[in-house]
Symmetry: C2
């Protein structure tokens, strides 16, 4: 199949540091090539990909030192370019929220739109009601809740390449790990409380965004002043496998409706179990009792970190490979692309989106 | 004529505090009604207007306390609504940068797009080249420079209602005025240097945005510790006429390509001359020697504040009424609307935009 991938232009594809969406699209494009498809990636010129790259900007927006740039103009120009060669593709797969809705209405039936963010924003429902013909994909079923009425055609969990995260048969470090961002909704304070209560060392590898500096200094830094807590700062892709693979568990004590939570499957890839709060996508990502425990209290979390340390790490890796590898993700999308092709209706002949119960893929 | 006005949704129309674009559109809509047109305003529900209001959001985005909202979705929904009833208008006048370009290509010839911001941003040229058929209006000729090739059909300076700014025959306060925002490109430090060198009192009425707090505390606050300098904080519309009318001159010592500079015409409306740096729109807004002086050095500015204090304030007001009243602005746009109507070509039959020399209105 001839497939176009259209990620946002904020980070490189894949990102040099952070950037969940661009990372997932990079892995998806490569895995679709591996499955034999003809894949075209629209991205900034520094993308590293096995797909055919159409460079639409010299560099990603967030890495561009130019003081004056326009995110909107850059993305609209990219979409204009996609539009110009739309006929060359069987499926156009968008990852830019709803920015493309005004431009592809006449071929919406052969587009797919994966929504990567939370959807409980005030203005979204009205907008998605106004463009009901775009087939949408969620990254967890929970993510859909604020827009149940929308034209969902499937849920495809994120996936990561198996080679990038080698299996670690033993938690040689014997510590708990917290990886990501220091911010109120990620609850690093809860992670510290769990570790202290369990009497286990905690390593925190996390960046601090400018907006969270006050929170970090006022609320978290004081808690870090304890012999069991070590703050290792921000780490890159290269250090992640050792950091996660050496941990006896990843703590994911979030306080917000996480649409997916890539770090959970990064840990699972290394064989490391996850202790996660019952929020957002968590019950869909963690197989309770196999790849980790889903908890909702400090006491339960403390009990869980001791319990999961004894889990079969090879079994955790096996679940990762089956459910959350890049190839598994690509197969999930491939099935949806084929469904669009077999429907083969012109966009304006598409029926109104059915009720959500009928739309879920098996 | 049946005219639609489509301002951004960030502030109320007109704004309760700041917000240049929404303010100008509010005045334009009212003045077009005064000229006998049938005007429809798409805006948030709290707009105060003589036009017919189509409320497209319960409140403006920046005044909305909802923690999670989407600027993009809100604006796309508004444009969808405009699109839905596009046939009801002879002209649709957009003030939302280029966000509408993907949606009105088939009727671009009866749209007008006023660009309200600076245009020297990296991604703009490519995007404006991709959508060349939208007739564009600049708010100063200088504003066009980074996009000379674009489809400009005229320059219409901003205008303000004559009633809102009563004429002040004498500068009873005997001070220099600085009004607007404390930020590096507005150069409040230069204003202070001019006042001290001239030995005249300076009153600074300005807000400090969060992003400029460091600049304010580190660079400007220490300079304010002088008997000639008074910081009066942020003032609203009600206090502006007295503040500007009492001044012997407005200082506008900017260091950036200001596309228009509303505060200059606010001062002129009160009869107050302007001493402004030679940047951006300034030579088009200030009649050098009549409504103020255009300078490019501290020495010239100091000489100018003494010179302009003797200017004929009634003559300044007269220039404001002729060139920068809301009615003058509405007449400027009316002429462009009529030109679009008389062209009456379908969008796809529009010729390529001519060279810029041919496009300027007299």
């Amino acid at each position: 199949m001839r497939i176009a991938q259209v990620p946002p232009l904020y980070e490189a594809v894949p990102p040099r540091l952070y950037g969940g969406t661009e990372r997932v699209v990079a892995h998806l494009a490569d895995a679709l090539v591996e499955l034999g498809h003809e894949v075209t990636l629209f991205a900034s010129a520094d993308a590293r990909t096995r797909a055919t790259l159409v460079p639409v900007r010299d560099q990603p927006l967030r890495l561009d030192a130019a003081p004056l740039k326009s995110d909107l103009a850059a993305h609209l120009s990219m979409l204009h370019e996609v539009r110009r060669c739309a006929d060359a593709f069987d499926v156009i797969h968008f990852h830019v929220d709803m920015l493309h809705f005004p431009m592809f209405a006449d071929c919406a039936g052969r587009t797919l739109t994966t929504l990567h963010g939370r959807l409980d924003l005030k203005d979204l429902a009205d907008a998605y009601r106004r463009w009901p013909h775009y087939p949408l994909v969620s990254i967890s079923d929970h993510q859909r809740r604020p827009l149940r009425f929308a034209n969902w055609i499937g849920t495809v969990p994120h996936g990561l390449p198996q080679r990038a995260y080698p299996f670690s048969p033993r938690a040689t470090g014997g510590y708990l790990a917290f990886l990501g961002r220091i911010s109120p909704e990620k609850r690093p304070d809860r992670a510290i409380a769990i570790a202290l209560e369990a009497g286990m060392p905690l390593k925190i590898a996390a960046k601090v965004d400018k907006v969270d500096l006050d929170y970090f200094h006022d609320r978290i830094e004081p808690l870090m002043d304890h012999p069991l807590v070590e703050y290792v700062g921000e780490i890159g892709d290269r250090d992640k496998p050792a950091f996660l693979g050496g941990a006896s568990a990843l703590l994911f004590p979030i306080d917000w409706p996480e649409p997916f939570g890539l770090v959970m499957i990064e840990a699972m890839a290394c064989g490391t179990p996850v202790v996660a709060w019952d929020n957002g996508s968590v019950p869909e990502v963690v197989d309770d009792g196999v790849t980790g425990r889903i908890v909702d209290s400090l006491a339960a979390a403390v009990a869980a970190v001791k319990e999961v340390a004894a889990y079969d790490r090879a079994a955790i890796r096996a679940v990762f490979e089956r459910r959350f590898s890049a190839i598994a993700m690509a197969r999930g999308y491939e099935a949806l692309y084929l469904r669009l092709q077999s429907a083969a209706l012109p966009a304006n002949a598409l029926p109104e989106p059915p009720a959500i119960a009928d739309q879920r893929l098996a």
